[in-house]
């Protein structure tokens, strides 16, 4: 693998704290994902793409912004691989490159909807801010 892609993949693994090699390619993540219809890259492919160092493609993917961080895939993965953490890590990498905040704390109150689960809010904040 190219040195740069190797480094990128390593960074993703480091941020997400996952071991992509543990994946046994069962596809339960994709089976569980409620946002699948919106995604261009399926959750299970995230794992193998990190494993193969295809980080640039992932960073360009729509999927990373469609993931709702519901953690269904993390909850149900029988091998403890945590695809959602990988997606989160890719998002982090994109945001760090863009050097931009999409969400600021002061904007939160007006966006608040009592129906939004707390977890989603926290996740969104992590997702769209640096």
């Amino acid at each position: 693998m190219h040195q740069k892609t190797q480094l990128q993949a390593e960074t993703i693994r480091l941020i997400s704290g996952t071991n992509t090699r543990k994946c046994m390619k069962c596809g339960k993540c994709t089976a569980s994902c409620p946002a699948f219809a919106e995604m261009d890259i399926s959750p299970h492919k995230f794992v193998s793409m990190v494993e193969h160092g295809e980080i640039d493609k992932l960073m360009a993917s729509k999927s990373i912004w469609k993931c709702m961080s519901c953690f269904a895939c993390v909850e149900r993965c029988p091998r403890g691989v945590e695809p959602a953490s990988i997606i989160e890590a890719v998002r982090q990498t994109v945001i760090r490159k863009q050097n931009n905040n999409y969400l600021r704390p002061e904007n939160i109150p007006e966006l608040l909807d009592p129906k939004i689960p707390q977890q989603a809010l926290v996740s969104a904040f992590r997702k769209y801010s640096k």
Partner: protein, 661 residues
């Protein structure tokens, strides 16, 4: 002074690649007592052994050190070689320079240094070895089989055929085990009952086989050749010797609330019941928790209708104490509980069932009379989804880390049977991998897919949602890289299997080891697969690891052969590495007696002469046939009178010194 020979094995490149053999050989030449040191590519081979034998004679050796693999592997081999050359076989020490050195170290210098230390440690110990003679103990010519499933039945039949008495202890009211609950068997699709029930009858009618059904093992004492077992015969509340098995009581019983365990709770049974029609013995049992007579004191209808007057409400548990020469463990398995897998909706919908439940539904003697009906409304299903690996291969702690092995094949069987009987039913199977090693197994699976049109989907189910009387199955199809939702009528979960929970307590009673999953450990994973590391205890069936029926039967027969081999001996050689009390030093304090797990130590008043006077002293004596050589007594002995042959205080301290030199 000993005359020691040191033999360093290369083990091909296994040792030689990391350990510099020459350095080890050279270093050993200067160790005290060593008169000969040499090396060879494969010491355990015929040629290697004859090199050892030759050196023993040539150099008049009194003991040998073999630097090779683990003593657990070849100690016996080298002891036999030494014995053949006229040495006492306990004048052999092994330096484990393979598993404990060559295989775990990469640095050649480091590994070589360690190998030298390990070798000189063995030499230091051997310098203090003395020839030992094993004692003998008798063998009780009777075997105990714990578990009356196909594994236990097969082992018992084979042992009984060889002419030895066998007792089967089964905790259920009938023998038969899980196989009795199955409908058809793969890959031949013959009916399970048709091949099992004749064997059950054989076992029951065999003159050498004695059945203890509805019984459990309470305690085990003793050792190989002389196990002392207490069996608890639970109170059936029915006199088995006069019951004719007519079944009138089971029909008349007014209580109908108990879940029928045999049908996995898919229907109800009476408080007095026979698990299934072909049960052996064909004697009912009263479930006292359900029986109106036991709960309220009123009823007793079964006693009134019994033509043989066999009902006995006052029956008590009975303890039978018996001696056995060997024990076969055949405790079997159960499907795991699905509490950790809520996503499959097992607890939410009756139409989500386990594969074993499907076996009952498909069975002609089952709750639906063999008709495939949806449990919720008894309707005919049109779409069925099978999910494989439910709880298997799960490293998160929710399920089991291992592959349950049988699920791929039985799922193919189920799918095929359904498609054959009901071609209108769409069958989808979600799989992660399809594993079909075995004779005619892959052909069987492919037939399901190719000839019967079972839709195999590479992927997993993420969610089963009961909606409007249907089950919405959301899964992935990894080949098509898509998510799909199937509207199914029934979902069948290929649930992981785990060892029966009795395995754990039996392991403790028998001091047989179990692994982290509670499967019994075999003495050697390849070379001694049906023996437990505990002498005289043998393993049969799934209690050792997941397996299908042909494998189970093969292993059951293999275990039986091992038992027969043991029971055919009149005397067993005892381990000579047993405790030994130096009467001159013994204080008579009883500390050793307190800690001995086998009751192998007795105290006697003995006369001693010292300074012209005779005095009586209380001293410890070890029964060498009973002592197993754990050494607990040696440490509590304040005067050091108690020592362990083969592992003496001096030997171990010499080892410590050699390592710390």
């Amino acid at each position: 002074m000993q005359r020691i020979g040191v033999f360093v094995c290369w083990c091909g490149t296994n040792i030689a690649a990391t350990v510099d053999i020459d350095t080890v050989v050279e270093a050993m030449k200067y160790e005290p007592g060593v008169v000969h040191a040499s090396d060879y590519q494969y010491m355990c081979s015929e040629a290697g052994q004859s090199k050892i034998k030759q050196a023993i004679k040539e150099h008049n050796l009194t003991g040998i050190v073999v630097c090779a693999c683990s003593p657990r592997m070849h100690e016996t081999t080298f002891r036999k070689a030494a014995k053949a050359a006229g040495l006492n076989q306990y004048m052999v020490e092994i330096a484990n320079i393979r598993e404990h050195c060559a295989w775990i170290h990469k640095d050649r210098k480091e590994a070589t240094e360690k190998a030298v230390v390990l070798a000189r440690t063995a030499v230091a110990k051997l310098n203090l070895n003395t020839p030992l003679t094993p004692g003998e103990s008798s063998v009780v010519k009777r075997a105990l089989v714990i578990g009356g499933g196909i594994a236990g039945i097969q082992s018992a039949l084979d042992i009984a055929e060889a002419g030895y008495e066998v007792d089967i202890v089964e905790k259920q009211p009938t023998i038969g085990g899980k196989m009795a609950q199955l409908d058809k068997t793969f890959p031949t699709l013959d009916c399970a009952a048709c091949i099992l029930t004749p064997k059950m009858v054989d076992a029951a009618s065999h003159e050498n086989i004695n059945l203890y059904t509805y019984s459990e093992v309470d305690s085990v004492g003793g050792f190989v050749g002389n196990f002392n077992v207490k069996i608890r015969k639970k109170a059936r509340s029915v006199k088995a010797d006069i019951c004719s098995g007519c079944g009138i009581c089971t029909e008349k019983c007014p209580s109908r609330k108990a879940e029928n365990e045999f049908n996995l709770g898919l229907n109800k049974r009476g408080a007095i019941y026979i698990p299934f029609a072909q049960a052996i013995p064909n004697v009912p049992v009263i479930d006292r928790d359900q029986c109106i007579k036991f709960k309220t004191g009123k009823c007793g209808l079964c006693a009134k209708v019994c033509p043989a007057d066999a009902i006995d409400f006052s029956q008590q548990d009975e303890i039978v104490e018996k001696q056995y020469g060997a024990v076969v463990l055949a405790t079997g398995f159960n499907p795991i509980k699905l509490d950790n897998f809520d996503e499959f909706g097992y607890s939410q919908s009756k139409d989500v069932i386990t594969s074993l439940e499907l076996e009952r539904i498909m069975n002609a003697a089952g709750p639906t009379g063999g008709k495939l009906l949806r449990p919720s409304d008894n309707g005919h299903p049109h779409t069925m989804v099978f999910v494989q690996c439910v709880g298997s291969r799960d490293t998160t702690g929710c399920g089991k880390t291992y592959c349950s092995k049988i699920c791929c094949m039985y799922t193919a069987k189920h799918a095929m049977l359904i498609r054959e009987k009901y071609p209108d039913v769409d069958v989808h199977v979600f799989y992660i991998d399809v594993r079909t090693p075995g004779k005619n197994f892959d052909e069987f699976y492919r037939r399901a897919a190719e000839d019967y049109g079972v839709n195999y989907i590479k992927g997993m189910v993420g969610k089963v949602a009961p909606t409007n009387g249907k089950l919405l199955v959301q899964g992935s199809d990894l080949i098509a890289d898509r998510q799909l939702v199937i509207e199914a009528d029934m979902v069948v979960l290929a649930t992981a299997i785990e060892p029966d929970q009795t395995a754990k307590s039996l392991a403790t009673m028998l001091t047989a080891s179990i692994d982290t999953n509670n499967f019994f450990t075999e003495a050697h994973p390849k070379l001694r697969p049906v023996e437990s590391p505990t002498a005289g205890v043998f393993l049969s069936g799934v209690c050792q690891g997941p397996k299908d029926i042909p494998e189970t039967v093969a292993q059951a027969s293999a275990a039986a052969v091992k038992v027969i081999g043991l029971l055919s001996k009149d005397k067993l050689m005892c381990n000579p590495c047993v405790a030994n009390s130096n009467e001159l030093l013994c204080n008579g304090c009883s500390n050793c007696q307190h800690v001995c797990p086998y009751g192998a130590i007795d105290y006697v008043e003995k006369e001693f002469r010292a300074g012209g006077k005779t005095s009586l002293r209380r001293v410890a004596q070890v029964n060498e046939a009973i002592c197993q050589g754990c050494g607990a007594c040696t440490v509590v002995c304040p005067s050091g009178a108690m020592d362990l042959k083969g592992f003496t205080n001096q030997q171990i301290m010499a080892e410590v010194d050699a390592i710390c030199r």
